[in-house]
Structure formats: C-alpha cells, structure tokens
Amino acid sequence: MKTPGIPRLAGVALGVSIVASCGPAKVETNAKDGLAYVLVPAGTFQMGAVPNDADAVGDERPRHTVHIERPFRLGRTEVTVAAFRRFAEASGRRTTAEMDAWSWVVNGSELDKKEGVSWRAPGIEQGDAHPVVQVSWYDAEAYCAWAGGRLPSEAEWEYAARGGLEGKKYAWGDDTTPHVNGRPHANVADESARRVFSGWTHFAGYDDGHVYTAPVGAFEPNSFGLHDMAGNVWEWTADWYDDNQYASPAAAGTAGPELGVHRVLRGGAWSDDPSHLRVSMRNKDAAVRRLPTTGFRCVWEAGR
C-alpha cells in the first residue's frame, strides 16, 4: 500500500499499514460538541466492491483507487443524543422532523408515519450516550458546521471504515458475523433484534445484546480506532448519490457529484442484515428523510 508523506505523531510513524497493526490513534476532544475525534492518516485505498463479493451491486463498481491527500479528524463515534442536545440548545435550530411535526417509526418490516416523533422522541428507547437518530441530512450538515466541521465525503467515509484493511468485505474483516476474536464488533440485525422483529433477515447465531441502537463505542473499534463504522445507525455523508459515480474520472478524488437529488448514507444500522453491512454498500435517501435508523458523524476541521 502506498503511504505518501507518512505523518509523525507523538513519536509514532502513522502509515496506513502501520497504524493498522500498532500504536494508539491520536484522539482529541472537540470542546464545542464534547465528542472525541480520531486523526485518520492520509493514504491511498481501493474503494468499492471487493473481488468475490457476491452481494455487491452495480453502484459499488468499478473498484477504483482513491487518494486521501490529507489526514482528517473524524468522529470516533457517531454523534450522540447528548451532543445533539447541546447543538439544539445552542443554535435554537428545529430539525426537519420537528418542523414537519411527524416522522417515521419502525412497524415490523414497514415504516409508519407518526405525529410528534423527532430526535427528542425517536420512537425507540434511547439514552444520552446513544447515537442521535431521526435527523435529516440538513440537520446533520448544520450540526457539523456548528461543531466546526463538515460531513465526511463518501470516499473519506469508506477509507475510514476500512481502517487500513485491504480487500475486506466488512469493516471487521471477512468473518461472516461481527463476532471476531471473541468480541462483538457491531450492533446489527442479530438474534436480539429477531426476538422482536421475527420477519427480519439477520446475522444468524450472532447476538450483540441490542434490539435498537446501542450506546456509541460499546463495540470494538476498527484499526483506526473508530467505533460503529459498521452498524448502530446509517451515517449521512456529504455527497450526492450517483449510481455511476465510480466510473467517472473524478472518482479518484474525494469530491462527490455537484448535483443530485439523494444523499449518500453508509455503514448499515441496528436493523440491517449482512448484505447491508458490507463496507462498500451504498445507501441513499432524500436529504429531508429521517429515520430511527439514521444518524451521522462529523469531520472536525476547526483550527486547521
């Protein structure tokens, strides 16, 4: 793997392949939102469906080389309910769901509209340390700007999720469930979820102990020190969705399309089965959409 301009941090050489095998990630706390951010090193990676991934679909191809030119600080966890409350109180901003005065709740394998549902009353049981849900792309974008940053690009997101592991199907590697080295690595549609949602496809034989969202950071991090890059909640990225994006000449960079009608979501959620948890899987939705399965994390840029 190419590791251009290996940055030296805290006396440790942080190349992609090196950080994957040794040394704690550099972590800083953003005083604005109170969340921890991890320095993700610059590097080059192969984006898109890995060879022999039978679940991959057309928009994940062709697999192509992407250069991450500069290191960036990415939220170590998804944005929490507590952090979002801080934002809501400081900015006075009302979310899309609050202005609409309704949102979506899970009803078996369906979604129903329900009055009064928003991040404050998300329709699932949540504590302050859980990832905020029921947030639109606009809400996520506004939060990240307030916190001194932005949403990650889709390329940054996949690079970060892979954590320096090359050619793996999942953020945790190639194991068929997120149970790796005796430890659970993700909150997904599992045996716990199946006890409530009997019709769901799921990770058979895997039990993460959570039906809905789990507190952020409850599962093992990836090699970059990032938690929940697979599962817990879908994460908004900065990019417009284009199903043919990977074939475009611009795909080697980190900028998404200029125009679009849907925004990209990545990572899968507590409600998702193996096909959706694959690290190259691309989801999309209208920017106003907010679900009990949708959240985000930010790139922190202030001071750079």
Partner: protein
C-alpha cells in the same frame, strides 16, 4: 361581502395599518374552493365549502422580499436548503438544477425572495414573530371579500381590469425570450418576463399585492386532494402528509394555474425560481 363593502372596510382601517407591511382581516366566513360554473377546476378544489375564522388575523401586504430575507439571515446566520444543496431549480424552457443559485442571487432587493423551501419560509415567519398563513387564510385573503370570482382580479380573462394591470404572469412579455411560447395569458403584457418587484401591480380589494402571480406562495398546511371534505372552522389542513400547499401561481404560470381556487402541493424541501411566500400573524408586535 360585496366588493364595495370590502373596499369600504379597507378604507375604514387606520391609515397606519393600511400603509403598513401587514393588513388586518377581521373574523369572517367565506366560501372556499371551486366557484360555480368554473369548468377548469381540478378534483382537489371540490367540494366548495364554508370556512369560518373565529378570529381576525394579519397578512403580509406583499410577498417577503430579498431585502426582508437578508435581515433574517444577517440576524440569525440562517442557511437555506438551496445553499446546503448547492443548487436550485430554475425554469429555462424546462426545469433544471442550476449550481450555486440561492435566495440572494437576485440583484434587486425589492424582488420577492425565491429559492426558499417551506422550511426556510416557516423559519423566516417564526423569526419575524408570525407564521405562514393557512391555506384557508390564504384563499380568503386572495378573494379580497369578493365572493364567487374565478381569479384574484375577478372574472376577466386577463389581469387587465379597468386599464390597470393586476398580476405578473406567463404572458406576452415572455415572448422576448420564447417567441413561440404557448400557454401564455394571451393579449396581456405585464412587462416582466420573469419576477417583478413586489407591489408593482395593483392590489386586490383587501390591499394585498401579487396574490395572483409573481411567486407561488407556501402555506402552512400539508396538502392532500381531499382536504375540503373535512374543513370548517379555522381549518389547519390534514395531518402528516408529504407535501405542503402552494397557492397563487407565479410569473411562470399561464391561465390554467392562475385560477384563484387552484391548489398545488409539493415537497417542503422544494426550492425554485417560482416559489416564495408571505407571512401571517395573529397580532402585530
């Protein structure tokens, strides 16, 4: 109310209120929806029904302008959806996404502000101490106290009444850009191929400008096609739909969409060069 009575009412209002940005409309009852003998009505304009307001309200004399909206953005740092999206819709023969278009792309601050989503409009009105008008309030205001008219300007085929021009619509003036355009208000030239500054056209009997044309206007209500079957006292519209009501037609609309009772519903995230708003309020500050 007859037209004469409506004009008398407007004349009796204190000059300070008539001249102000808002006009007070007292509690009243009116017939909402498709008027008799209007064969162009769509299903959603039926049934015509009686709406009663239990209290009077104030409504903006004009559409909110670019300068008005600038004051809001300056005070709050508000970011519109079009800015977050990085583009907005424009009508250039067909509808297309145009990068970096937003609320202050218009050079003239007296133009009505466009490229605003329902969320942006509702946020502005809340900031100014008001709210968006309900659909029923909007139609009552647009009728200007005249019962049974097909248009804001009456029953004439064009907005030219008594030698006065009453609306900025899709008219002969667009032929400067589109010489072969069909679907225009034929035989009428308002002088503006696109948007006109607010208040350039004669007001209706309530003293309200541009209730027909210039920009379509967001209303507070969710939209559905069967709202009118359930309306009555102070109607607020249906709960939990996916589209918000737009009324009044725009500079880009011909006869089909300029009828007073015509209704349009669209996703509240829509922003384009033919959509704007005005605010209502229960009390003046």
């Amino acid at each position: 109310m007859t037209r004469a009575a409506a004009m008398l009412l407007a004349a009796l209002l204190p000059a300070s209120l008539r001249a102000a940005d808002y006009v007070y409309l007292p509690a009243a009852t009116f017939e909402m929806g498709c008027v008799p003998r209007d064969t162009a009505c769509h299903k959603d304009e039926h049934p015509r029904h009686t709406v009663a307001f239990s209290a009077g309200f104030w409504i903006g004399r004009t559409e909110v302008t670019v300068d008005d909206f600038r004051a809001f953005v300056t005070a709050t740092g508000y970011r519109t959806l079009a800015e977050s999206d990085g583009w907005s819709y424009v009508v250039e023969r067909r509808i297309l996404q145009k990068p970096r278009l937003k609320w202050d792309s218009a050079a003239d601050g007296k133009l009505p502000v466009a490229h605003v989503s329902w969320y942006d409009a509702a946020s502005y009105c809340a900031w100014s101490g008001g709210r968006l008008p309900t659909e029923a309030e909007w139609e009552y205001a647009a009728r200007g106290g005249i019962a049974g008219a097909r248009h804001v300007w009456g029953d004439a085929a064009t907005p030219l009444v008594g030698g006065r021009k009453l609306a900025n619509v899709w008219d002969e003036s667009v032929k400067t850009s589109y010489p072969n355009e069909k679907g225009i208000v034929a035989g009428y030239d308002d002088g503006y191929p696109r948007l006109a500054p607010v208040g350039r056209f004669a007001p209706n009997a309530f003293g309200l400008h541009d209730m027909a044309g210039n920009l379509m206007e967001w209303c507070a209500d969710w939209y559905n096609t069967f709202t009118y079957a359930a309306s009555g006292q102070d109607p607020q519209g249906p709960p939990m739909a996916g589209e918000r009501v737009l009324r009044g037609g725009s500079w880009n609309d011909g006869p089909d969409y300029l009828r007073l009772s015509d209704r349009f519903g669209y996703m509240p995230s829509l922003h384009s060069d033919s959509i704007g708003f005005r605010c209502a309020r229960n009390v003046l500050p």
